[in-house]
Amino acid sequence: MTTDVSPDSIAFASGGPKSSGARRLAVHAVMILLSFMSIFPIYWMIVTSLRPENEIFSTSLWPSNPSLENYVFVLTRIPMIGMLVNTTIVSAATAILQVVTGLFAAYALVHWRMRLSGVIHGLIALSWLVPFQVTMIPNYVLASRLGLLDTLTGLIVPNAAHAFAILLLYNAMRSFPTEILEAARIDGARSWKILWQIVVPNMGAPIASLSIIAFISAWNEYFWPLLLSRKPENSVVQIGLQMFMTQEGNLWGPLMAAAALASLPILIIYLVLQRHVIESFMKSGIR
């Protein structure tokens, strides 16, 4: 499924600044192929989820009698609504906490010159490179000692601060004009007031970006909930989906309906905020 773009074909296509019709066609062909590849599995999920049981193996591009029976099946069989609510709580709380802890830490690093700030900056950045699988056993032991197994708090707290969040806000804050802050300081404003009344209102864009990314990646998080969760009703939707697959893996219709329900909130966010989502991820990274 790859597109072979050899140097020769590029050289061949060079027809001066204005591109020829054939080249334009080839450009669109490449992009259509890539778009199709990206979107078709999701389209097929939706189509399959709408097929009644007797035509589940049909290869038609649209079900002849679309029905919602698979969705009904999922909603009655597993606590889907409860898990969606749990996931929303976990994702929103994670995003908010990451913004707050990130703002505080970035503010401290930007507005005070401390002898140790280089060390701290390094410590924060390096925490990124520690693979979670390496620290999972001590983390699990700690979580069980704190009584966090099978709780939503346990899913939120370890992710309440993240190197990514701190560094993103740090970079954004550094470009904030210092004169304004100096003026506020001279006026005798306290650091707390400066943070909330001057810095935060001017950081709308990076805070929004961070919230979008943190929410989506918390929604999609799989590994930590996998360790912590016991019962589906106390867990998030990714775990419910995995359990459903293990139990009913060949009920393709309901499985696709469950997958669709689990992705729906993220897809809606994407439909509404599409440009912002893309730009947030592009400016700040992959999660």
């Binding site: 597109t3 590029i10 080839a26 450009v27 669109h28 890539l34 778009s35 990206s38 599995p41 999701i42 097929w44 505080f104 830490a105 401290a108 690093l109 930007v110 507005h111 005070w112 010159r113 401390m114 701290i120 900056h121 410590l123 925490s127 490179l129 520690v130 693979p131 699988q133 390496v134 620290t135 999972m136 056993i137 983390n139 700690l142 707290v157 309440a160 601060a161 990514f164 560094l167 970079n171 550094r174 210092t178 802050l181 100096e182 989506i216 998080e221 799989y222 989906l241 995995q242 697959m245 499985l255 997958a259 689990a262 992705s263 991820f281 592009m282 700040s284 990274g285 992959i286 999660r287």
Partner: protein
């Protein structure tokens, strides 16, 4: 938990201390209060556990709170190095990474250059579509591809059979399973990487291209001598992220789709850690393997940073 920063505007170096600051040399409590929440959390959930994992790697322990931890020195490490499983997992880790590079770097790079003249509405639509896999949850992606590649009724299996290629056990044949998981991991990245390269490519100062064209440079000459060097920071960044995080990204797919099989053919180092830790309950082995992986990736990370500093070309 696996995320990368792609701050394309800046080289990967630690930032200098900013100018707006006072209290030189005197100790102040305030900044530490602001730092406390983040630092406590990072200590509690990353650094202390890292040290504990290091300690655990010298012990034998079955993860039960009631049973004692027994000091065994370097035995865990010696055993691991002697295990063919470990060697196979390290090779598989390398295969995942090598398999991902074309999908996260090479193809996106050329697609971005090839399609650079796209403008207007078409461009916006393509952008919106190829980004989508990036925000699809790994578990959902795994399920979607499990359905498309299903051995009996999967659409792709049926399609391949129609054109006479026979049935392929994408997830059940040890010869194909790792490639399949690499493909799914790459599926999530290919569009996003293309967008990153397109953005970087569009940021190249057009006067360089114009000047080269006036000097009679061919299209390929312009790509080789101007575009590729100026895209080198993005190329290095994405390569580095693929190398450092590629094997971690594939974890969810391994866990959901193959459980490391068939015949261990899809087990990479991170999945092995998980197996030792939470399936066979040997915390010592898992920690020792984790330390080996961590040390290995730390060396690679340092090497990548050095390469970036040495070879990335920035247009100031």
């Amino acid at each position: 938990m696996t995320d990368i920063q792609a701050d394309l505007a800046r080289p990967l170096i630690l930032a200098r201390a900013p100018t707006a600051a006072r209290q030189r040399g005197t100790f102040t409590v305030q900044p530490w209060l602001y730092l406390a929440p983040a630092l406590c959390l990072l200590m509690m959930w990353t650094y202390v556990p890292l040290v504990e994992a290091f300690q655990l790697s010298f012990y034998q322990w079955n993860m039960l709170p009631t049973s004692p931890q027994r000091y065994v020195g370097l035995t865990n490490y010696q055993r691991l190095f002697a295990l063919p499983e470990m060697r196979a997992a390290l090779w598989n880790t390398l295969f995942y990474i090598l398999g991902l590079v074309p999908m996260s770097v090479i193809i996106p790079l050329f697609v971005a250059i090839w399609t650079q003249d796209l403008e207007g509405r078409a461009r916006t639509i393509y952008r919106a579509l190829i980004f989508v896999p990036m925000i699809v949850a790994p578990v959902v992606a795994a399920i979607l591809w499990r359905w498309l590649l299903n051995e009996d009724q999967g659409l792709i299996t049926l399609g391949l059979e129609t054109i006479g290629l026979g049935r392929i056990g994408f997830l059940t044949d040890p010869n194909y399973a790792l490639a399949t998981l690499t493909w799914i991991t790459g599926w999530k990245l290919i569009g996003f990487s293309t967008l990153l390269f397109s953005a970087a490519n569009a940021g190249i100062n057009p006067s360089y291209i114009e000047a080269a064209r006036i000097d009679g440079a061919s299209r390929w000459g312009i790509i080789r001598d101007i575009r590729l060097p100026l895209l080198s920071p993005t190329i290095l960044l994405l390569s580095m992220m693929t190398i450092l995080f590629g094997a971690q990204w594939s974890f969810a797919y391994i866990n959901v789709l193959t459980n490391g099989g068939p015949l261990k053919s899809t087990t990479n180092i991170f999945y092995l850690l998980w197996e030792y830790g939470f399936q066979t309950m040997s915390a010592g082995w898992s920690s020792a393997a984790g330390m080996i992986a961590f040390a290995g990736f730390a060396v690679i990370a340092a090497g990548c940073m050095w390469l970036t500093k040495r070879f990335a070309i920035y247009d100031n």
